[in-house]
């Protein structure tokens, strides 16, 4: 997929995220918008996974640790053909499979997530199984920066390095905001890179909205043989809609009619 095609997709995904959040009357708007470019590149460039091979033991795995940003995942999975996009009209509705967090009831979802600090340990175990079976699949997990204080992340970070899981790549959606305020003020986890590096990971920083940079970064995996890879993707919460960017209230804010129209206008004007 060309860079332009990827950019067009990111724009369409952003519109869909907002459309289905508005329809559902709920959702994690800011984080879905900050992580969507990462998901776009993963699913449309990097991951060897699609509806055609989802049951294959050799597929690449994506586990979304920051499960609350499920809207980003669902719009990408729909676009990949895992399920009809119209299904998302039922998002968070009574008896719908499409709940406000990833669930395996939805085709394409690897693990049920939502509680924070769970994705990395599961990804470590999955990557370990790949090594045991000498398979070539890779395991990706997306973490929010706000979930880093969960101790289970650091337990899993130790294990990943100890078992030399170079088939594992964790990506941090580093948008620097969480529900209470700036992550640096809530519980400062900086320097994230030095911490992970000291645990034995190879850490690479990238602009999480630069599709070319993301593509090239994931193309370089593993960053080093015998070591797990961490990509710190610097992102902007609410990215793509001017009045949502870096504004805390959009963590799980739902646009009203006017805001939605304004956001869609902005996004339409930004189509490349």
């Amino acid at each position: 997929m060309t860079e332009k095609e990827l950019a067009q997709r990111s724009n369409r995904y952003r519109q869909n995220i907002l459309k289905y959040i508005v329809k559902a009357g709920a959702g994690h708007t800011g984080g879905s918008l900050s992580s969507i470019d990462i998901l776009n590149v993963l699913y449309n460039h990097t991951l060897k996974v699609g509806p055609e091979n989802f049951t294959s033991p050799d597929r690449d795995r994506y586990i979304q640790s920051k499960g609350h940003c499920v809207e980003a995942l669902f719009v990408v999975l729909a676009d990949k053909g895992f399920f009809p996009e119209e299904d998302l009209n039922t998002l968070c509705r009574y008896k719908s499979h499409y709940i406000g967090h990833p669930t395996k009831k939805v085709n394409g979802v690897e693990q049920n997530t939502g509680a924070l600090g769970h994705g990395l340990p599961i990804a470590v175990g999955t990557a370990m199984a790949g090594k045991m079976d000498q398979k070539d699949f890779r395991v990706f997990t997306l973490l929010g920066d706000g979930e880093l204080p969960e101790g289970s992340n650091w337990e899993a970070a130790l294990t990943a390095a100890h078992y030399k899981l170079d088939n594992l790549c964790a990506v941090i959606d580093h948008n620097k905001l969480q529900i209470t305020g700036p992550t640096a003020e809530v519980c400062n986890t900086d320097p994230i890179d030095e911490k992970f590096a000291s645990f034995g990971w190879v850490v690479v920083h990238v602009d999480g909205h630069d599709l070319k940079a993301l593509t090239e970064t994931f193309d370089r995996l593993p960053f080093e043989k015998g070591r797990p890879s961490l990509v710190i993707a610097h992102t902007v919460k609410g990215k793509g809609v001017s009045f949502m960017e870096n504004v805390l209230s959009w963590h799980h804010g739902v646009p009203d009619k006017e805001q939605f129209a304004l956001a869609m206008k902005e996004l339409n004007e930004a189509v490349v």
């Binding site: 395996k104 470590v124 175990g125 370990m128 199984a129 045991m132 130790l158």
Partner: protein, 333 residues
């Protein structure tokens, strides 16, 4: 009705050792059998397993949340994963991982709670698991099992390995005599084993408390002429309600026995079913009361709370309104 209480064979092994031996036997022909430990291979009697099958044991270190999360990942990729850790830590520290990563995601991890209940004796509350049945009963998609003897343990491990769903198994480390000579009836999750039959009273026990219940039944018969049914209700969830119904219909009183808090365990599971299904005869839950356990060995703690031949005999006599019960015996409820 004639009693068919059989004599048990003494001197059997700890269920923990049977677990380890069975796992080795399975691993010999199945390289997908994976044991995951949290610095617990020694206490889990898994050192020989690790030596024999080094590629099939994963050491996590002391990090139970990670133990369960990693196990979920392994199981999701087809590994027949046994996550082994002391029951106290496994089911408290890693409860959210059990709930979400194992049960909710339906990753077929076999959660093995070793040195369960008050097996750690005088090490105290931090090391006791008297909450695990209660906590895990409330989690959907998890089979909860406490095998009583070596036969049940070996069968439970074999069947757990073959299962594609999450299972929690817990046992202790003391020698457990076989409950029955004849094992032809087999073992199946969710189907209680009738160890003895009698019309006056029924003991419904689980795990390492089945044997003292059986001893009490023998004493009640030989000394007091009271005939007792004894059931090893190894599966706490799903509960064998058919057997419970049948037992309730044919007995004069029911005593449940468990190495667990009297809150939320086997007893309350039975009480809930029985009350809602017409049972109105005497009923008593014997377990560890809602207090910090008295200091002592597992045996001493059992004795203290009436989970013993004499303690259960006295509780039975009290419940049936029979003379001969010694005052002050039989804690529990």
């Amino acid at each position: 009705m004639a009693s068919i209480v059989v004599e048990s064979k003494p001197g059997a092994k700890p269920n923990l050792e049977v677990f380890s031996a069975t796992l080795q036997e399975l691993a010999a022909t199945d390289r997908d059998i994976i044991v995951v430990t949290s610095d617990s291979r020694g206490s889990g009697k898994l050192v020989p397993f690790g030596k024999k099958y080094p590629a099939q044991i994963v050491e996590i270190g002391i990090a139970e949340q990670n133990l369960v999360g990693v196990s979920a990942g392994l199981a999701s990729a087809g590994k027949k994963t046994f996550a082994v850790s002391p029951a106290c830590f496994l089911t408290a520290r890693a409860l959210e991982q059990i709930k979400n990563d194992v049960a909710y995601s339906d990753n077929p991890v076999k959660l093995i709670g070793i040195s369960a209940g008050v097996s750690y004796g005088a090490l105290g509350t931090t090391h006791h698991s008297l909450h695990d049945f209660a906590a895990l009963r409330a989690i959907n998609n998890l089979i909860v099992v406490a095998p009583a003897d070596n036969f049940e343990t070996a069968e439970a491990i074999r069947q757990a390995a073959a299962s594609r769903h999450p299972i929690y198994l817990r046992f202790g480390k003391k020698n457990m005599p076989l409950l029955k000579e004849d094992e032809s009836e087999g073992f199946q999750f969710g189907k209680g084993r009738v160890v003895a039959k009698g019309r006056d009273l029924a003991f419904i026990a689980t795990g390492e408390t089945v044997y003292p219940a059986l001893e009490a039944a023998r004493q009640l018969r030989s000394v007091h002429g009271i005939e007792s049914t004894v059931i090893s209700m190894h599966t706490i969830k799903p509960l064998d309600t058919a057997l419970l119904q049948e037992t309730a219909a044919g007995t004069g009183a029911i005593i449940t026995v468990e190495e667990h808090s009297i809150n939320g365990g086997l007893g309350e599971a039975c009480a809930s079913y029985l009350l809602q299904n017409g049972y109105r005869k005497p009923f008593r839950i014997v377990g560890i009361p809602d207090e910090y356990t008295v200091t002592g060995s597992q045996n001493e703690i059992f004795q203290h709370y009436g989970i013993s031949k004499d303690g259960l005999t006295d509780i039975a006599l009290q419940l049936l309104g029979r003379e001969g019960a010694r005052p002050g015996r039989g804690g529990g409820a």
